[in-house]
Amino acid sequence: MKSLAGVRIADFTLHAAGPFCTHILSQLGAECIKVESSARPDIFRKPHPVYGRMGPASFDQVASNKLSVRINLKDTKGIALAKKLVGVSDLVCESFRPGVMERLGLGYAALAALKPSVVMVSVSSSGQSGPDSHFAGYAPLFGAWGALGYLTGYEDGPPVEMRHVMDHSVGMNAAMAAVAAVYRLRRTGRGGHVDVSAREVACSLVGEALLFAAAGGSPARIGNDHLRMAPHGVFRTREEDRWLTIAVRTDDEWRTLVKLIDAPHLLTDPRFQAAASRHKHRQALHGEIEHWTMTREAGEAERRLQAAGIAAHVSCNMEDIANDRHLRDRGTVVEVQDSTGRQRAALKAPIRFSKSDVGMARGTPRLGEDEDYVFGELLGLSREERQSLMDQQVIY
């Protein structure tokens, strides 16, 4: 049994952030019905030359585990069909630019009039209100607007672009807020509108720095440094492009590290006695640490440091992740079969329950794959009615 069993989603989201939200909810047990059309299919069904993909994706994580139907939202009969779908759903999720759902007659007010208990989740770059709500944006822009991009970077370098993690952070926040609204729905019968702003998600990831600035502080780019800890950083090892991260939190850990790397002179060096002084002289200190890491293989050094209780980890690439024993044992990384029959690594929703199940039951749906169930069984349309709507390019 999954915890969100019995929750049905009419999913109008496209691209990355919104679809990630509904994908996570579907893994938690919600039945997610993805609405597209032949005229406006989601991006994973199209080639993506920027990423060297010349056809549709054979596996798309965020589209997986969803049911697929076609509804042409440019047709008034399509809107009527979409409203029928909303009528049998608990949640409506969408990620159009603010105003588009209203223009289509599918805005929150219209849907709540139709079904007062509906919970709607809107995901957009700047939110549904405010002077910038019409702005166009992608993940790197969210990070730029929200100060996360400004604050990320080498001390002497430019700001840094946030990529897909930014989209999916938005989607995860949206999923969390959606479940809060579903909790209220279940308890009180009340629906509501959740309006997620991607740029505000970026802000929420640097909430403490924004508060520091509000008090008159000047948060700035600090590369891999920490405001208190030293040593703290990403160190070269003897393997090419294989890096080791180390964070030393306490004096005890510092002494343990010095012993482990067999560098007793560091304990007597006045610059490295007190924590504050180590932090002040961190550049020199990090050079000393790298003397040791440069002679080691990253994995071996990681294991030795962890065995001594020091926070350390290899900087993983996706091959490491796909083959990681810990992630496999936890069921975080799972094997799935793509549409060509090939096995590949994918991700289960990152929550383990002691009783409830989580996970994907199916892969990426074909466009319109589930119309027998959705249009036939759920909405009760006859074969003739469906054929007629197909002939009129409403189901299209």
Partner: protein, 399 residues
């Protein structure tokens, strides 16, 4: 009586939090902002995040990190190493719906807070463990801080990209500022808590195991998908072919044109220079191939631009562009003000300051922050009240 139907989503929910790290603390904050009562149980010397920088000027006493994460929470102190402290905690847990913590599995057993003990004593309590690598698996006991976790989840290896990677190709990969991975862990832990609460209504309470590594990897899913497609992503090769971070006369902007109409808008924005009318450049693939050449021209043009002006003109033309806003600019942004993103609350030791609410509106408005961060033990009376109630119950049962 509270009108539950008109109130924030989690009104009536009680969460108890024992946290040392950012992830568990963020989960408690999210539940509180959404309407729950989050009771932070602190050791006598206070939650360790109270001692983490940055500290709020000018007094430099209050931690900005703690103030942000604890806004709206209640505070009680409790030495859970002692029987009296454990009895206090027990009184709180007996009345709670959710217990969020980052206790290690070995600590939980010795404190009688392991899964079996919790289920036996508090059958309706959902407990959520939030640890760097989770409570189960070969690395369950491993130590980690933010910098380790962002690299253990794959995103660290992929940063920086774009201009910073071009300027400093030989430097070590870069973490995202602050506590990016730990915040992801917090959001996922709140999601797990809420899902389990919904599940509880249909069945029984259960335990939830969240790992910051898992949560951060989840938001990095696309890189694993690309690996399945046959591409091992690398920070030096995943930059956009053109656009990206651009230096202007007074700061930096981000430019990203993925669609044909956006490229046409860019041509207009740049004043229709001749080189952009090269017939070959009407093909998106050709533009990708000649990205470096295009970028030289865009960068030279950008250096002459003022950020506010160029962003306004770009957005009017449908060209996705944003300024890399500093924290001060975000704080004073008209859009952020219109959405009540920051709300003034009293912070002990620092005065009244605007603190970020949550990045979403519910029912057409920002979620109201109930208060600033609590003073240590400010709500100790809650503990005494719950214990009195417990003792009364025991006495009533005994008579």
């Amino acid at each position: 009586m509270i009108d539950e139907a008109a109130a924030p989503p989690l009104v009536g929910v009680i969460a108890v939090e024992i946290s040392r790290g950012v992830a568990a603390s963020h989960a408690g904050r999210l539940l509180s902002s959404l309407g729950a009562e989050t009771i932070l149980v602190e050791p006598l010397e206070g939650n360790p995040l109270r001692r983490e920088p940055p500290f709020l000027p000018p007094a430099n006493e209050a931690s900005a990190l703690f103030a942000f994460l604890a806004a709206g929470k209640k505070s009680v102190t409790c030495d859970i190493e002692t029987p009296a402290g454990r009895a206090g905690l027990s009184a709180l847990l007996g009345a709670a719906d959710v217990f969020i913590h980052d206790l290690r599995p070995d600590e939980r057993a010795s404190l009688e807070l392991d899964e079996q003990a919790l289920r036996a004593h508090y059958p309706k309590l959902v407990d959520v463990s939030v640890l760097p690598f989770g409570a189960v698996g070969p690395k369950a006991g491993w130590q980690a801080e933010e910098i380790n976790l962002i690299h253990a989840s794959g995103e660290g290896f992929l940063l920086p990209n774009g201009l910073a990677a071009e300027l400093f190709p030989d430097r070590p990969p870069l973490k995202v500022y602050g506590h990016f991975a730990e915040y992801q862990g917090g959001v996922v832990a709140a999601l797990g808590a809420l899902s389990a609460l919904i599940g509880r209504a249909q069945g029984e309470a259960e335990s939830v195991d969240v790992s910051v590594q898992d949560a951060t990897l989840a938001v990095g899913a696309f890189a694993l998908q690309r690996f399945g497609d046959g591409s091992l992503e690398h920070r030096r090769t995943r930059s956009f072919k053109y656009g990206g971070v651009l230096e202007c006369a007074d700061g930096y902007v981000e430019l990203l044109t993925l669609e044909e109409r956006q490229w046409r808008g860019l041509v207009e924005l740049m004043g229709r220079p001749d080189w952009m009318f090269d017939a070959a450049l009407s093909d998106a693939l050709e533009r990708s191939r000649r990205g470096a050449e295009i970028n030289r021209a865009i960068r030279a043009w950008a250096l002459e631009q003022q950020t506010a002006d160029v962003v306004a003109r770009a957005q009017a033309l449908g060209v996705p562009m944003a300024k890399y806003a500093s924290p001060a600019e975000v704080l004073s942004g008209p859009h952020e003000r219109a959405r009540d993103l920051f709300q003034p609350v009293e912070i002990p030791g620092a005065g009244r300051l605007p603190v970020l609410s949550e990045p979403f509106h519910v029912d057409g408005a920002a979620l109201p922050l109930k208060a600033g961060p609590p003073r240590l033990g400010e709500h100790q009376h809650m503990l005494a009240a719950r214990r009195r109630r417990d003792q009364a119950t025991v006495a009533a049962e005994a008579s």
